[in-house]
Amino acid sequence: MAEIVLETKGLTKYYGAKPALDHLDLRVPRGCICGFLGRNGAGKTTAIKLMLGLLAPTAGSASLLGCDSTALTPAIRQRIGYVTEGHRLFRWMTIGRLEEFQKAFFPGQWDSRLFADMIEYFELSKKQKIKHLSNGQRAQVSLALALAPNPELLVMDDPTLGLDAAIRRQFLEGMIELITRQGRTVLFSSHILADVERVADRIVVIDKGVLRADCSLEQFRTSVRKVVVYFENSAPADIELAGLLHFRRSERQLELTLVGVGDAEVADWARQAGAGRFDFVEMNLEDQFIEFTAPAHRRRLFQWEKA
């Protein structure tokens, strides 16, 4: 396995009596693009801020490029790019002045050409002030500021939130561009599952502060599956199947959401339960994510038919 560039061990953060993050153990190997997924309030921003040493952990630890997050040295920080939530930059600065500011912290590794090219591509001018830019333009400046120092590890906190499809695609292109250089790693949180599927090769899923998955995207795609089992008479009352996340029942069929259950195991179970036949339901990543993070005994939000 490749070298681990980002790792958390039992990372825990309490706000008052409530854990925002509960014993998070994750490892991101070098050279991948890792999609950091979780519903609103799942603890993604807390985790990212802990990784960057902006918050102090209640327990556990995080480390970036082998350096503990609570004591990141200037030399380590210089190898890390961080795109903050909402792309908050100094409003009074012009793009040019902001470049000068940022550049001072990446001596010898600032790609002025790339920055200028990106600003031109975005049809911006270095004379424009940040406060006069739209949200999308500010995000573009933020992307250029993050890529110009050619960071070894790039951490982005929901960089495409609220952006239009074209600018979102530019962020994806930026990530791919960075990752094709040797040894670069990206971790980004997002709610746009289609974007994550496109560029990520690993995903981390957290839910209510708890780690639910840390694996390759492909592994997630193949292990979270839904199967509809049809019965001749009535579906069994008890379902005992390892890997069952949750199920929905109608009179003669069962809809099971499974994790890490192979075809053969499903077939075995169906035979033992006396099922007639079963079909796997094709799901895209978004469906899988919704099923995966759904509560065990869920109800539909809008229940049209009377039960």
Binding site: R77, E85, G86, R88, F90, R91, M93, E100
Partner: protein, 234 residues
């Protein structure tokens, strides 16, 4: 290089307020000096024409004992300097909270201490130049321009004491801004301590005590601010 980038940023953010404070002080100062000079001249002429003495022969003792002109400017400074301290404190430590730029600022390839040091250096430099140099210049101008009778040095020192109080208020504001507690608990400490220190400094008669108290207040607030900044979560 990195520190200079930080210092430039902080100075540029402070600049409008430094200019405002400096221009206000300069305006009040020049107006007072020139108005007061003409007023004294008129008084002089009036008295000399009614006392039978020739021009220049009389020393106006009233003007010597009560020279209200620069004292009046110093009183303005007593409000301008702490006001500037409050505004700079808000500008350096509170605005980033509202603008949510702390995350961007803190992820720098430098120590957290130098990020704080740049802010403090900008404030000290600002205080030295904008009310400091302006005030000293005004004193010099009032004494040397020939428009006024030379002022006692105490008035210059009094102005500088107000400037130091401004710095105390700046640190107090910083400390309150950095606190994550509630206002009615420990968050008020920074501002309250600064106010108390300012009061205690102002009621002293001996320069030695003023100096001692100012150093003590600044040392306490500085230590607390550094500790708060280095351990704070953003």
């Amino acid at each position: 290089m990195r520190f200079l980038a930080l210092l430039r940023k902080e100075l540029r953010e402070s600049l409008p307020w430094l200019l405002l404070a400096g221009l206000l002080l300069l305006g009040v100062g020049l107006l007072t000096v020139h108005y007061e000079a003409r007023f004294a001249h008129m008084r002089h002429q009036h008295w000399s024409s009614h006392s039978g003495l020739g021009p220049g022969e009389v020393v106006n003792t009233y003007d010597l004992v009560h020279s209200p002109h620069l004292a009046w400017v110093a009183m303005w400074l007593a409000f301008i300097a702490p006001g500037l301290g409050l505004v700079l404190g808000i500008c350096h430590f509170w605005v980033p909270l509202f603008a949510r730029t702390w995350s961007f600022l803190l992820h720098r390839s430098t120590s957290r201490m130098s990020i704080l040091a740049a802010k403090l250096a900008a404030a000290i430099l600002g205080f030295l130049i904008s009310p400091g140099l302006v005030w000293t210049g005004l004193y010099w101008y009032a004494c040397r321009s020939g428009l006024l009778i030379p002022e006692p040095i105490q008035i210059l020192v009094a102005g500088w004491i107000y400037i130091v109080i401004g710095l105390v208020v700046y640190l107090g504001t910083a400390l309150s801004a950095l606190s994550t507690a509630r206002w009615y608990t420990t968050r008020i400490f920074g501002l309250a301590f600064a106010a108390l220190a300012a009061f205690l400094i102002l009621v002293q008669w001996h320069l030695g005590w003023v100096f001692a108290l100012a150093v003590l207040a600044i040392a306490i607030l500085f230590g607390q601010t550094v500790a708060a900044f280095l351990s704070r979560e953003f």
